[in-house]
Homo-oligomer: 79 residues x 2
Amino acid sequence: MKVRAVIKLKAGVLDPQGEAIRHALGTLGFDGIEDVRQGKIIELVLAEPDAQRAEAEVQQMCEALLANTVIESYEVELP
Amino acid sequence: MKVRAVIKLKAGVLDPQGEAIRHALGTLGFDGIEDVRQGKIIELVLAEPDAQRAEAEVQQMCEALLANTVIESYEVELP
C-alpha cells in the first residue's frame, strides 16, 4: 500500500526557502508569483494492505517522527 | 491560482534520506515498511487565473529552476 505524507510549514510560520525560490524565479523572468511555500513529501510503501489502517499508521508516523507539529502541519494522502 | 509542484528523485536514484527515515521509523517500532522516498513540494500562488496556463508556467519553472531533471522528476498538480 502506497501512502504519501505531505508536510508543510503552518500558515504564519516564516518560510525563507520559499521566499528565496520566489526571488530566484523573479530573476529568471517569471512574473505574477504571489506566494511560494516549500514543504516535504514522504512516500511510503507499507506491507499493510488495508487503506484505512495504512493511513492511520502514517498519521502516527507523522506525529512521532516525520513532522514537527509545533511549526508544521501534515496531510496523509492515498495516491 | 494555486499550483503545486511535486519533485521526487527518479526511480533508481539512491535516496539516503528516505533510507534514514525508514531506519528511524523501524527503531520507533513501526514495522512493515517496504520503502520510503523523500521529495519536495513547492506550492505556488500565481496571479494567472487560467488553470491550464498556470500549470504550463509551473512546468517551465520546474525545468528552469525547481527540479534537477538529471536526477529528479516532477509533477504539476492543481489542488
